[in-house]
């Protein structure tokens, strides 16, 4: 307080110099204080600014680090996506290959199935032929042979009405029938193409057909749908042969309703019948003529001797 009264710590002397000095000192002090104040203020401001800048930089650094992390993640994610795409592409290729294998396997399977069905059908046809020929030659009794022939046509071919004609002199004579009365079937004279046109009217188309098959040795078998075949002629007419000679004809007049058409196995059966039916019938007739006696070894010897003479 004393200093304040005296105007500070230094007492001004009486002279103006002293007063001036005091003034100067005070002013300087003020200036100094002001400077210091300003300095500190500026320092404080600068410090504040530095702290703010530091904060800002920290924030920026944090942001950049976050951004960096995000970019790293993004990059990793992109790489993962690229890897996944590569994997998808590989899997797609693999899928295509597998599908191709499956298609090939299906084709093979279908081919094998078709082949299997064909083999099964072939086996079935062979079984038909085996059974037919086995039954046909399993007996020498005429009645049995005829029964087997009838069964063969009914059970295996599906015949509803049929007859067997054998050559007797210049006629074809019906010897057995099924599904049609034997007495209704006429003897057919073989004209060898010499029949006059006016005689033709006395015989129906069936008679003509039977005669033609006998003369030519060429079978008549209706091809295609049997329901659309002509009703006034047989569905099939098959010549019966012994060696090269035609000795009779098998006539199939009609077939069971469910028999829609002749199948490959029927053609094979007709061929077999053409070659075996007559020999079975002739064998049975010869056996009947010998009163059911089997020839002895002497008969075989005689035949062998004759054959031997022929060869000489």
């Amino acid at each position: 307080m004393a200093d304040r009264k005296t105007g500070g710590g230094q007492q001004p002397d009486a002279k103006g110099e002293a007063s001036g000095d005091i003034k100067t000192d005070a002013s300087a002090k003020i200036e100094r204080d002001s400077f210091v104040h300003t300095f500190f203020k500026k320092g404080a401001e600068f410090t504040d600014e530095l702290l703010r800048e530091n904060d800002r930089l920290r924030k920026r650094l944090f942001d950049l680090e976050s951004e960096n992390a995000a970019l790293r993640t993004h990059l990793a994610s992109d790489e993962a996506i690229r890897e996944l795409l590569r994997k998808i592409e590989y899997l797609e290729r693999e899928k295509e290959q597998l599908l191709s294998h499956v298609r090939e396997a299906e084709r093979n399977s279908s081919h094998l199935f078709t082949r299997y069905s064909e083999v099964e059908e072939e086996l079935s046809n062979l079984a038909h032929l085996y059974v037919a020929s086995y039954q046909l030659h399993s007996t020498l009794h005429l009645r049995e042979v005829l029964r087997h022939l009838k069964e063969l046509l009914t059970q295996l071919v599906g015949s509803r009405a049929h007859a067997f004609y054998l050559k007797d002199g210049s006629d074809l004579v019906p010897i057995s029938s099924d599904g049609i009365e034997l007495s209704r079937l006429p003897r057919l004279a073989i004209h060898a193409g010499s029949r006059k046109e006016e005689d033709r009217g006395s015989r129906d188309r069936t008679g003509d057909l039977i005669e033609r098959v006998f003369m030519t040795g060429v079978a008549h078998i209706e091809e295609g749908e049997l329901s659309t075949a002509p009703r006034d002629q047989p569905a099939a007419c098959v010549p019966m042969r012994i060696d090269d000679a035609v000795v009779g004809v098998i006539v199939i007049y009609s077939l069971l309703d469910q028999k829609e058409q002749f199948l490959p196995v029927d053609y094979a059966l007709f061929k077999m019948l053409g070659a075996h039916a007559a020999t079975a019938l002739m064998g049975a007739l010869l056996f009947a003529n010998s009163n059911g006696k089997f020839p002895g070894l002497e008969a075989i010897d005689a035949i062998t001797r004759n054959v031997g003479d022929d060869l000489k």
């Binding site: 069905s117 079935s124 599906g158």
Partner: protein
Amino acid sequence: MSAEYTCLVVEDSPMMRQLLVFALSRVKNLRVTEADDGVDGLRKLAAGRFDIILTDINMPIMDGLKLVKRVRSDPMHKDTPVIIITTEGAAEDRKRAIELGANAYITKPIQAPQVIAKVKELLKIVP
């Protein structure tokens, strides 16, 4: 071969019987017994158990329809599948056979693949 299934074929025609036996020999593990008419069929049924029966309709002494009737009244075979084989293809015959208890109907002339397929179907044999 140990038979897994047993089958009775009742058919008076030796030719058809032989053909059916040939066809059925294509079914794996199936043992076939033959009977030449309905009465013989009943005799064979009384002597053992069968998993499936194939019978012709037109037979002497006892026809196939009567046999089906008898089979359905037999406690041992009342549920045994029966396939009727006949020359008649009419729908009425089919209906009559099914009404009497037959499970399937095959018309002549028989085709082996058809017989095999029907037997496998009724015996639930996976192809």
